[in-house]
């Protein structure tokens, strides 16, 4: 594991006051630049001296990246809005409570006061081989230390692994996918808006990144349309301890029903793969079915099809099956099965 040195390597610190200035700096320094949002992921990398950027662009002085604004069709959350602000915002609590629930279980209150929504969705994986500075695939090398017979892989992927088996650690990401959020990016070619689902990528596409941001790109805002406002939401996070921990797995769902019949549904899990997974097959299978234990059971089994456990993470298969079952049928209906 990494030796904590605490003294960060020297870098040039830039504190722009506008998105335009930030973008110019990022373009100017290219891959040598590091974007600093809340700093909670960044300072780990810097203090461990595993990442040694020449320039750090601190976004904390850019007011336009902060706050929650209402739009013609929903809300727009600035990427530098803290998780605490997201949790406590009245419109989010009223209409998009799924996001508030997800943001509220991120780490600890102190971290939520400092951590940002943009940082939460853009943070790097917690695989300790990678974070420890080992030359694995994700670090540009040619091996995955976690996917070996002796590898410590209890927290790693059961789905869509491709050489690397690290998972995405974000709690807010599956909630945003379920809410059909759009991520607003500033790139060299101008503004680009992508579906939340498409913001995240797996190792099959790019083994060194968890999202589509290229050097020079900036996530500026997250727009949530009113599509799922006020729907029936479900969020559950499983972690080793109930405070200050990353998810072993989480599930988020939104649903509208007519009587007992599921009319519209969206469901996503994180912690199962390198990117949060929207479970389209499950959505298609349960649409039009009664919201019942039987439907939940079927959905759970469907969700884990194709799962490949590693040496120490087979528990994630029943975990995911049960989480999906509970998200579809509700906690009262679902009984936990191993």
């Amino acid at each position: 594991m990494a030796v904590i040195r605490d003294v960060m390597p020297a870098f040039e610190l830039f504190q722009p006051s506008s998105v335009g200035d930030a973008q110019k700096l990022l373009e100017q320094h290219g891959p040598d630049a590091w974007v600093l949002a809340g700093g909670l992921d960044s300072f780990d990398w810097l203090k461990d001296r595993i990442r040694k950027p020449k320039a750090v662009v601190d976004l904390s002085g850019i007011d336009e990246l902060r706050g929650v604004r209402t739009t013609a069709d929903g809300i727009e959350i600035g990427a530098m809005t803290t998780l605490s602000e997201v949790v406590n915002h009245p419109i989010i609590k009223q209409k998009y409570d799924l996001l508030a629930q997800a943001a509220e279980v991120v780490a600890s209150p102190q971290i939520r006061n400092q951590g940002t929504i943009g940082g939460n969705v853009s943070q790097d994986t917690r695989c300790w081989y990678y974070r420890g500075g080992w030359p694995c695939y994700r670090a540009g090398g040619n091996i995955c230390y976690a996917d070996t017979p002796e590898g410590r892989n209890r927290e790693h992927a059961i789905l869509h692994a491709d050489r690397c088996v690290a998972v995405n650690p974000s709690d807010s990401a599956p909630a945003l996918i379920v809410l059909d959020a759009k991520f607003v990016l500033r790139t060299r070619k101008g503004e680009r808006v992508v579906d939340a689902e498409d913001y995240f990528i797996g190792p099959d596409i790019d083994i060194t990144r968890l999202h589509i941001l290229q050097p020079g790109d900036l996530l500026t805002a997250i727009r949530i349309p009113s599509t799922w406002a006020g729907a029936q939401f479900y969020f559950e996070k499983i972690r080793d301890r109930n405070v200050w921990d990353f998810p072993l797995m989480n599930v988020a769902s939104a649903m509208t029903t007519s009587g007992e019949t599921i009319e519209r549904v969206r469901i996503a899990v994180n912690g199962a793969a390198a990117r949060p997974l929207r479970l389209r097959a499950v959505e298609d299978a349960v649409r039009g079915k009664p919201r019942s234990a039987t439907t939940g059971e079927m959905a759970g089994k469907l969700a884990v099809q194709g799962a490949v456990p590693l040496q120490f993470n087979a528990y994630k298969i029943p975990l995911m099956r049960n989480l999906v079952k509970r998200a579809i049928s509700g906690v009262e209906e679902a009984t936990w099965t191993s």
Binding site: W134, P135, A139, G140, G141, N142, I143, C144, Y145, D147, T148, A161, D162, R163, I201, D204, I205, D206, V308
Partner: protein, 287 residues
């Protein structure tokens, strides 16, 4: 500027992990430069080729209108190998230059196809074809020396016409063998690092240093193939070489082209008989 990328292994050992990816561009630019220089040379500077002697009228009269060159099996092998090679190159290097897609599965499947096709080719060429026709012989070397002297303006008798394959063809084949076997042998071992249907994953099959060198060799041979394939495609599309390319499609070349380029004593072609061209091609060992 480092040609290799290095990393520190968990045991503190400095090991290579792969080639530096700018070598992709070095190879592509080298291939392009070859194309440009060769095209300019042929267009503006090359002198008409002179050969030692033409075939006697009696020998020429025995040459059929369509000279069988590549059997159907040999042609199928060539195009299967070409398809897998292009797939391998595109899936290997497009992601490195920014075109991102899930490439690994396509890459190892194409690698498996290439491996099987090469194994088939080795067996087929060794036991059913004229194995030595693709390897340089003494006459090739003598003629090459004459061509070099004449190119330099020194006196030398004109070289003989080619056997089935010109020396350049034979040398290219040799370099392709080196690069091809390098990527195949290293690629087979590298498949134990990804999930395939062939082997259980075992990333600890070799030491970090051995793995690193294997990745480096795979990469060097791979980028080398970029330039080699560019040169091969370019040569195949050059107007004066089109009869050779067509023979890789239809299996035969025109009598006129044969007599113009090839020495009937070095590449013996039988007069047409009752048997079909394809069966004769097999028996003559065309490849």
């Amino acid at each position: 500027m480092d040609f290799l990328e290095w990393a520190t292994s968990p045991w503190g050992q400095n090991v290579p992990i792969h080639i530096a990816w700018f070598l992709i561009w070095v190879s592509a630019i080298a291939g392009l430069l070859f194309l440009i220089v060769h095209a300019i040379y042929v267009m503006y500077f090359a002198k008409a080729r002179v050969f030692a002697s033409d075939a006697s009228p009696a020998v020429a009269a025995k040459i059929p209108k369509h000279v069988p060159r590549h059997s159907l099996v040999a042609r199928l092998f060539h195009w299967v190998m070409a398809a897998s090679m292009f797939t391998l190159l595109f899936t290997a290097f497009l992601p490195k230059v920014g075109v991102q897609f899930p490439w690994v599965t396509y890459h190892w499947i194409a690698g498996a196809v290439l491996t099987v096709s090469i194994i088939f080719h080795i067996i087929h060429a060794s036991f059913w074809l004229d194995f030595w026709s693709i390897w340089p012989d003494r006459i090739d070397l003598d003629d090459a020396w004459k061509r070099v002297r004449r190119f330099a303006g020194m006196s030398a008798p004109p070289p003989r016409k080619f056997a089935k394959y010109p020396l350049e063809n034979k040398l290219f084949h040799g370099v392709i063998i080196l690069c091809g076997l390098s990527v195949i042998l290293t690629g087979i071992f590298m498949m134990s690092r990804v999930r395939t249907v062939f082997f259980p994953r075992n990333p600890y099959l070799f030491s970090d240093m051995t793995w690193g060198l294997m990745y480096v060799l795979h990469g060097l041979a791979g980028v080398g193939l970029i330039a080699l394939v560019m040169m091969h495609v370019y040569m195949g599309l050059r107007p004066e070489k089109l009869p050779i390319t067509k023979s890789m499609i239809f299996g035969w070349m025109d009598r006129d082209f044969y007599l113009e380029e090839h020495d009937p004593e070095r590449w013996v072609v039988e007069a047409p008989s009752a048997s079909s061209i394809s069966s004769r091609v097999e028996s003559r060992g065309a490849d």
